[in-house]
């Protein structure tokens, strides 16, 4: 006990030294926690997006539908499957879809994509796509509207629904610039390239890089209620066309997802494609807890062996790869940080021992045995580590909490007309378990690091030590 109180007093005797060690430990802890939080933030977001925006937890299709989608490959025993899912407590939302590959045309462009016929109520409970609707571009599907369609920003571009019109009265620019752009006022451009070219012809390169982005932003417009005619093969094998009117434009972080999909009302698509009543191509299921996924998937497979049941990991293997990668990455980084920390502590403590040679020598001379000296050094280090770790924990938690709220922006700005390069926002997050593990690891590192200096202290010869001149 006396050792402990002595150790404690020693620490506060030389504030500077102690502060330095404590700060190192604190930094190590905070750094470790923050790194983990950052990594989890990045991965978590990506994976969250895959589940909550794109795929949901699991999807059910006719056996060969995914490999080669065809309108006639509708899901068998839909009613039994729905009934089965409805009684399962783990299931949060079920959303049935009709899925048809179609060719969409407008007066100026065309593109091929999957039309997804959904029920707005269940779909909005399943996916947070409505949070990705660009402000000012409209709204989510509404059952009361006539053949509405929700398309992506990419699709809007391909169909030339995304236009650029210079409206000088609505854009604050220096007089010199507005004079130069006067000739283009009110002119509408259907592609970004043509817009760029026209503006580059009247402005200098410098002006373009200064005003380009804001000009592009102000000129951007989506044609409201734009008409798109979709052509596809219906359930009877005939080529049919159907007009849809754009009700809103969405944009997620996955341009692949965006490009290939558009959302319409299920009843509209069923009517246009002449699908028999209540026939659908896929059921998407969202669970309350991700942990229940394997069980639910297994049960579905056993009960309905002739349909295809896939969880999001199988549907999007890249997500799984990514999270594995990130896990590895953070492990490596943590390793490095702990190593560096250990190193810093060893070094600092060694210096401290060196500095206290006389003091320690004296202690040994007045009778403190070597074992006690060892315990003393160890206790000091442990205390320092604990205090440092505690403060580090608090700081780390605070840092993560703050950045979780504000977000950290990774953005790269490109020249001229390009939009704000890509602003990825990361919201660091950390679970209680990891929090504790990191803190324990740091403390362990501190303790292990103390062993070497403590042993060094043991090797001091008391007589020599007292006479040390340093």
């Amino acid at each position: 006990m006396m050792i402990l109180s002595l150790a404690w007093k020693n620490i506060w005797r030389n504030k500077k030294r102690s502060l330095i060690v404590m700060t190192s430990v604190m930094l190590g802890t905070t750094a470790g926690l923050f790194t983990l939080g950052l990594t989890y933030g990045m991965v978590g977001e990506k994976l969250d997006a895959v589940v909550y925006t794109e795929l949901s937890h699991l999807q059910i299709h006719q056996k060969t539908f995914l490999r080669h989608p065809e309108i006639t490959k509708t899901l068998p025993h839909v009613d039994s499957i729905m009934a089965f899912l409805n009684v399962r407590a783990e299931v949060k939302t079920i959303s049935p879809h009709i899925r048809i590959t179609a060719m969409g045309s407008t007066s100026r462009g065309n593109t091929s994509l999957d039309l997804l016929g959904v029920d707005p109520t269940s779909e909005q409970a399943l996916s947070n796509l409505n949070e990705h609707i660009l402000p000012g571009s409209g709204h989510y599907l509404n059952s009361d509207e006539q053949y509405p369609i929700l398309i992506s920003d990419k699709t809007a571009e391909q169909l030339r629904i995304k236009t650029y019109t210079i409206k000088l009265d609505k854009t604050p620019l220096p007089l010199a610039i507005t004079t130069k752009l006067q000739a283009l006022n009110g002119k509408r451009f259907f592609t970004k390239k043509k817009f760029k070219r026209a503006v580059s012809n009247v402005l200098t390169e410098k002006e373009v890089s200064l005003y380009g982005p804001s000009l592009t932003q102000a000129a951007l417009q989506y044609r409201h209620h734009a008409k798109i005619v979709f052509t596809f093969t219906d359930a009877t094998g005939l080529l049919v066309s159907q007009l849809f009117s754009v009700c809103g434009i969405f944009k997620t972080d996955f341009s692949g997802f965006d490009e290939g999909r558009a959302f319409v009302l299920r009843k509209d698509l069923a009517k246009a494609s002449h699908l028999p009543r209540n026939q659908i191509h896929e059921i998407c299921v969202l669970l309350h807890q991700a942990e229940a996924l394997p069980t639910v998937v297994q049960d579905l497979k056993t009960t309905f062996p002739d349909v295809d049941v896939q969880d999001w990991k199988a549907l999007s293997p890249i997500g799984e790869v990514f999270s594995q990668m990130m896990g590895l990455y953070s492990l490596m980084v943590m390793g490095f940080i702990l190593f560096a920390l250990a190193f810093g502590i060893v070094n600092t403590m060694l210096m401290a021992i060196l500095e206290r040679t006389k003091e320690l020598g004296m202690l040994m001379a007045i009778g403190m045995n070597r074992r006690r000296v060892f315990q003393l050094i160890m206790s000091e280090t442990i205390f320092l580590t604990l205090v440092g770790a505690f403060v580090g924990m608090v700081l780390g938690a605070a840092l993560i909490a703050i950045t979780h709220h504000t977000g950290i922006y990774f953005s790269s700005i490109a020249e001229g007309f390009q939009e704000m390069g890509f602003a990825a926002v990361v919201y660091p997050t950390i679970g209680a378990q990891d929090f504790i593990i990191i803190t324990l690891l740091v403390i362990l590192t501190g303790i292990l690091s103390a062993i070497y200096p403590a042993r060094k202290a043991l090797k001091l010869n008391p007589l020599e030590a007292i006479r040390t001149e340093n």
């Binding site: 100026r108 091929s112 509408r188 052509t231 080529l239 007009l243």
Partner: protein, 204 residues
């Protein structure tokens, strides 16, 4: 048909037959590389026979918006030739002279649920021969997308018709498609099984 592009110009020659039931058949006669290819429009389907590979295919939806033989006239345009009648309201909007012909100017506005991409179409129909002398196609915001311009009236068989039609996209005036009729006959008798897939393979 001459297809004009900023970097090249290409000319095709073909023969086509249309009957009153709106079935039509066309066969390419030049250049040598494309010769022998035929197209059959029947009901809602467009078929293509290619002698090089000896295959008959039904054009899938993904090919509908492509230009026919690479021109500015899409396969879809060909299929929807008669949509101008049933999918629009028609309103007479005065008279104008096109190529020396006195024409009625007719505004066509699409019906609410019509499956058409246009916001408005204006047709100039000659009062003398009821020929379409000019057509303008507008998008929903009433910006001009393309113009079909007819000219060079000529006598074909027992009628006088414009022999040249040019399709000009408004955004890219360097791109054009020009169709010139060399010869045309009417009330030409055809055999019973003329508009069939089998016949496509035999056409020359």
């Amino acid at each position: 048909m001459t297809i004009v592009r900023p970097k090249y110009k290409r000319t095709l020659k073909f023969k086509s037959w249309v009957n009153k039931d709106k079935k039509s058949l066309a066969v390419i006669t030049a250049p040598a590389k494309e010769k022998g290819q035929s197209f059959l429009k029947e009901g809602k389907n467009l078929w293509n026979w290619n002698p090089t590979i000896h295959r008959l295919i039904k054009l899938p939806p993904s090919m509908m918006s492509q230009g026919w033989m690479g021109s500015d006239i899409s396969n879809d345009d060909i299929m929807k030739e008669f949509s101008l009648e049933k999918d629009y309201t028609h309103h007479l909007n005065g008279e104008e002279y096109i190529e020396g012909q006195k024409c009625w100017k007719i505004d066509l506005m699409p019906l609410a649920q019509a499956n058409v991409v246009w916001g408005k179409v204006i047709l100039w129909i000659s009062q003398k021969g009821f020929d379409q002398m000019k057509a303008e196609y507008y998008d929903e915001d009433l910006y001009l997308v393309k113009t079909h311009q007819a000219s060079q009236l000529q006598k074909f068989d027992d009628r006088t018709l414009p022999s040249i039609t040019v399709v000009i996209p408004a955004e890219d005036p360097d791109n054009q498609t020009r169709i010139q009729i060399d010869k045309m006959t009417f009330n030409h008798p055809t055999k019973a099984n003329f508009y069939t897939q089998q016949n496509m393979k035999r056409l020359k």
